[in-house]
Amino acid sequence: MAPRLMEGSEAVAEAMVAAGCRFFAGYPMTPFTEVLEGMAKKLPPVGGVCMNAESELEAVGMAWGAAATGTRSATGSTGQGLALMQESISELSLARLPMVIVHMARSQAEYWQATRGGHGDQRRIVLAPMDVAEAAELAQLAFHLADRWRNPVILYGDYYIAHTYQSVDIEPIDFGPLPENTWALTGATGGSGGARLVSPLGDLKQRDDVGYDLADYYHRVLAHQAEMIASVEPMVETGHLNGAEVVVVAFGTPGKFVRYVVNQLREEGVPVGYVRPITLFPFPSDAVRAAAGTARVVGVYENSAGQMIEDVRLSVLGASPVEAIGGLTLDGSGFGIGPDITVPEIRARILRLCESAGCLPAGVTR
């Protein structure tokens, strides 16, 4: 298919359908709403189902039911709506069900929610694209990872990605083979002596005389989670780290702005590099640590009061000072286009950091 100009929400919807998603349930909430609209339009023609759930609680529940039948299933929302879904998201990990959760966030203040939200010890892979094209790719990867690890995967988008138009070419991407599905409910195993059970309370049946031991089940899920965390290669983009005395870490849309500014500054001779985490969990700690090793200072640009900065500090482990150079920036509606997310503003902040670190070449102006 030829590249087509699409709004990010529509591109994500189209990518999900291309990935084989056949069930979606959602509840409108800005800036997630257009993803729901896209799925409502695109799923019925391919034999899929899109449900206009009566609340986020029901949206995630419906997606849960469909996922349990082995159908590629997704839901989504934004911060507050995902908070309503959080109990289910946590328990989906215990039920070991794959699901893709599209988190079109209103800012980057949902970093903790996405990477740490919910009860229990379980974690979810979080993918954070920087623009529409990357969102369309990662949306497909999300389904593969969800199936591979039988665990929900969160796609962390934002207002810009949801509403920016970009020319994208969406074709199904082959990520390689997946384990055979031996667990999905179809009804067909009833009466066989081995009817399937999908439950966050364990996968063993009383007939096997194993007793009821939820603690044992939790330990088995944790062992599976540990394997997932150890096996999933963190995704990260880095640039200009060679000789970088200042390193800026940023993700998502601001990450793309930071990349642009750093490219520009390097051409002007400013010794600055960047690290853009693409998986927020597992966090690319090795890449951040390596980048920080030779730097005088690490700046973290986030559209929040500072959340990812904790993961950066945990990665750097005191090797370099880590400073926040971002901050929450929203329009009057409480979300939307952040006035601070501009090339001149980000340029000025990075240069201030360079100046304070004593590595601002003469003649470079903010």
Partner: protein
């Protein structure tokens, strides 16, 4: 001959042949008949009735039971019917996802009054309003049995629970929700009935209600619902043998039995 028949055996003589179980009457879809629920509990009877209907209608290879959270959850890993375990209150949404993703399945939720009427009220109401082709079974005993006898949204006025020690009173606790009546009033519901398992006759009548509800789902006529009043002598703080009568005198006096709606009935 006569002498032989009338001969009284000394009690210390062992029988000629060891006793053996001829049939334990456990339905095909229940793996282990023994359970850890309290003596006098009505939930195993209701559970058995649902599983019998699924087997008798030849739906063993199509049925998926979606469980809520309560004492009855003990059966979730004890069935040879496929089971999807939901969070507290969320079974109707999960059943919706199952049914919409695989329309050939028969989706049946098993929920208690705490699960369905307290925690998940909007779920069942919306599922009914959508005319979702699923069957929801409410096991209503008017208390949170699993936590030890606390007030639910269906607890009747005057009923004593651990958090309404002097009996539920309207001024402090409001009024019980009559779930079947609420759902019968929605356009999307096709079959709504309320039975009980406190007498043999009620068990039999309730089983016919379950049969009808499943039949309505098979025909795709809309949402079907059977509320089953179950005994909970432990949570009611009464003697086991008093529970069936207590059910009639208190719970059923408010949540009256019968078929409230049946779109298949001749008009």
């Amino acid at each position: 001959m006569t002498d032989d028949l009338l001969r009284i055996l000394p009690t210390d003589t062992p029988p000629g042949e060891g006793a053996h179980l001829v049939d334990d009457f456990t339905p095909a879809l229940i793996d282990v008949g023994a359970h850890n629920l309290c003596p006098g509990c009505g939930e195993p009877i209701a559970m058995r009735s649902v599983m019998e209907v699924i087997a008798e209608q030849g739906l063993m290879q199509r049925a998926i039971a979606v469980f809520g959270i309560g004492c009855y959850t003990a059966f979730s890993n004890n069935l040879d019917c496929e089971v999807l375990q939901a969070l507290h209150g969320r079974a109707p949404s999960l059943a919706t996802g199952v049914k919409r993703a695989r329309p050939d399945t028969i989706a049946v939720t098993i929920q208690g009054d705490g699960d369905m009427v307290n925690e998940g009220l909007q779920e069942v109401v919306h599922a009914a309003a959508r005319g979702e082709r699923i069957t929801c079974i409410l096991l209503n005993n008017g208390v949170f049995g699993e936590t030890g006898g606390h007030m639910t949204a269906t607890t009747t006025l005057g009923q004593r629970t651990k958090n309404s020690l002097d009996g539920r009173n309207a001024a402090d606790h409001g009024y019980p929700i009559q779930m079947a009546s609420v759902l019968a009033g929605l356009e999307g519901s096709a079959y709504v009935a309320r039975g009980a398992v406190n007498t043999a006759g009620n068990v039999s009548r309730t089983k016919r209600m379950i049969e009808k509800a499943i039949e309505v789902q098979r025909q795709g006529l809309g949402f079907s619902f059977v509320e089953i009043l179950t005994m909970c002598p432990t949570g009611w703080f009464i003697e086991t043998q008093a529970a069936p009568t207590y059910l009639d005198d208190t719970i059923a006096a408010v949540h009256a039995g019968g078929v409230l709606k049946d779109v298949t009935a001749a008009t």
